[in-house]
């Protein structure tokens, strides 16, 4: 279980070392993609805790969500529709939902272990 955390730290370090920079106009798309990725991660953790974890669903969800979120926001900017906001709201709500579910599961697991 500690390997993914190590991977996260290594990724952050690599990102800082690579010194990648996105132009000002495109930071919003990257943030959307990041939000989608985080949402997928939390969804994965939740499904793992619920015992319904599927690697294929998880992987496809991660890549599809990030790419489509960014792509749709990009398209929306061209069409004059603020899909960016819609994606932010949708992923944000799902993220917090997942967090709440994870917390509840962890809490019930901990309580049942204590009893």
């Amino acid at each position: 279980m500690w390997l993914p955390i190590v991977g996260l730290i290594v990724g952050i370090a690599a990102g800082f070392l690579l010194d990648l920079r996105v132009p000002q106009e495109y930071t919003s798309y990257l943030s959307i993609a990041l939000l989608a990725g985080l949402d997928t991660i939390f969804g994965g953790i939740r499904s793992y805790l619920e015992g319904m974890f599927n690697v294929r669903i998880f992987m496809s969800g991660f890549f599809f969500n990030t790419l489509f979120a960014a792509g749709l926001a990009f398209l929306g900017a061209f069409l004059g529709i603020d899909l960016y906001m819609a994606a932010i709201v949708a992923f944000g709500v799902r993220l917090f939902n997942n967090l709440a579910v994870i917390r509840r599961i962890l809490l019930s697991n901990w309580l049942s272990q204590r009893d």
């Binding site: 991977g7 996260l8 990724g11 952050i12 990102g15 990257l30 990725g37 991660i41």
Partner: protein
């Protein structure tokens, strides 16, 4: 055994994905934190400088149009150079006539000097009976005498006259103020020296015909010395000259 392999695979995938998320996070942080401040500031700065430059270019454009106009004026003036030369000539002529420029030409110098020979009794000539018959007149040259001389010179074709270096112009006056004579507002002291431009012979013979020498000798006991000069310089009028009470009358058809 199979379960272990699968679990490892899942862990590997999770690690990979969290690494990707980490890279994205770092990129987002970096592009959000450092450049955002400087770039947003530079945009406002750019707007300000753009506005300034626009203003500058506007003023430069107006300058260009101004100088174009000036250039056009100069070019037309170049075409009218002849008329400007005529105007300059005219101005020079007007200045000469008004006595504002020094002049040089042939002329005479007339000096009124004390007579060293024996004084002769004072005797007014009949034609100059308007002189004040006071004893003071003997030995003292009066404004009347100078006016007479100047008038005779002008009548005999003098073009420009100066008394002791004071140029006479059309509005000049010669008068007694106390014991002294003033030309315009400048006091002159004897010995008096009158310079006049003109044909020397005409001037001298005209003065002699009037009996100037005789008169001065008899009435004020002074000697008149007249000299011909080939190059006589008459200075310019140096007093103040303001145009007042002088408005040209505009005739009809005059532009």
């Amino acid at each position: 055994m199979k379960n272990l392999v699968r679990k490892r695979k899942i862990t590997f995938i999770l690690t990979l994905i969290s690494a990707i998320i980490g890279i994205m996070l770092a990129t987002q942080l970096q592009s959000n934190l450092t450049p955002k401040v400087t770039e947003s500031r530079s945009i406002t700065e750019l707007r300000g400088t753009l506005l300034k430059e626009l203003e500058k270019s506007k003023s430069i454009l107006s300058d260009i149009s101004k100088y174009d106009q000036l250039n056009y004026q100069y070019e037309t003036a170049l075409n009218d150079r002849e008329s400007i030369a005529v105007m300059k000539e005219e101005l020079q002529r007007a200045k000469k006539l008004a006595g504002l420029v020094p002049l040089e030409d042939r002329g005479i110098v007339l000096r009124i000097e004390d007579n060293d020979s024996a004084p002769t009794p004072v005797e007014y000539p009949t034609e100059r009976g308007n002189l004040p018959p006071s004893g003071e007149s003997s030995g003292v040259v009066l404004d009347d005498d100078l006016r007479w001389l100047v008038n005779e010179m002008l009548a005999n074709g003098a073009k420009a006259i100066s008394i002791n270096g004071n140029r006479l112009i059309s509005t000049s006056s010669i008068r007694n103020v106390g014991d002294e004579i003033q030309v315009d507002t400048k006091t002159i002291q004897p010995p008096y020296e009158i310079k006049a431009l003109g044909e020397p012979e005409t001037l001298i013979s005209g003065l002699k015909l009037e009996g100037v020498e005789n008169f001065f000798l008899q009435s004020v006991n002074k000697q008149i010395v007249m000299e011909e000069r080939e190059h006589l310089v008459i200075p310019a009028f140096t007093g103040e000259k303001t145009i007042r009470f002088m408005t040209p009358v505009k005739a009809k058809g005059d532009s």
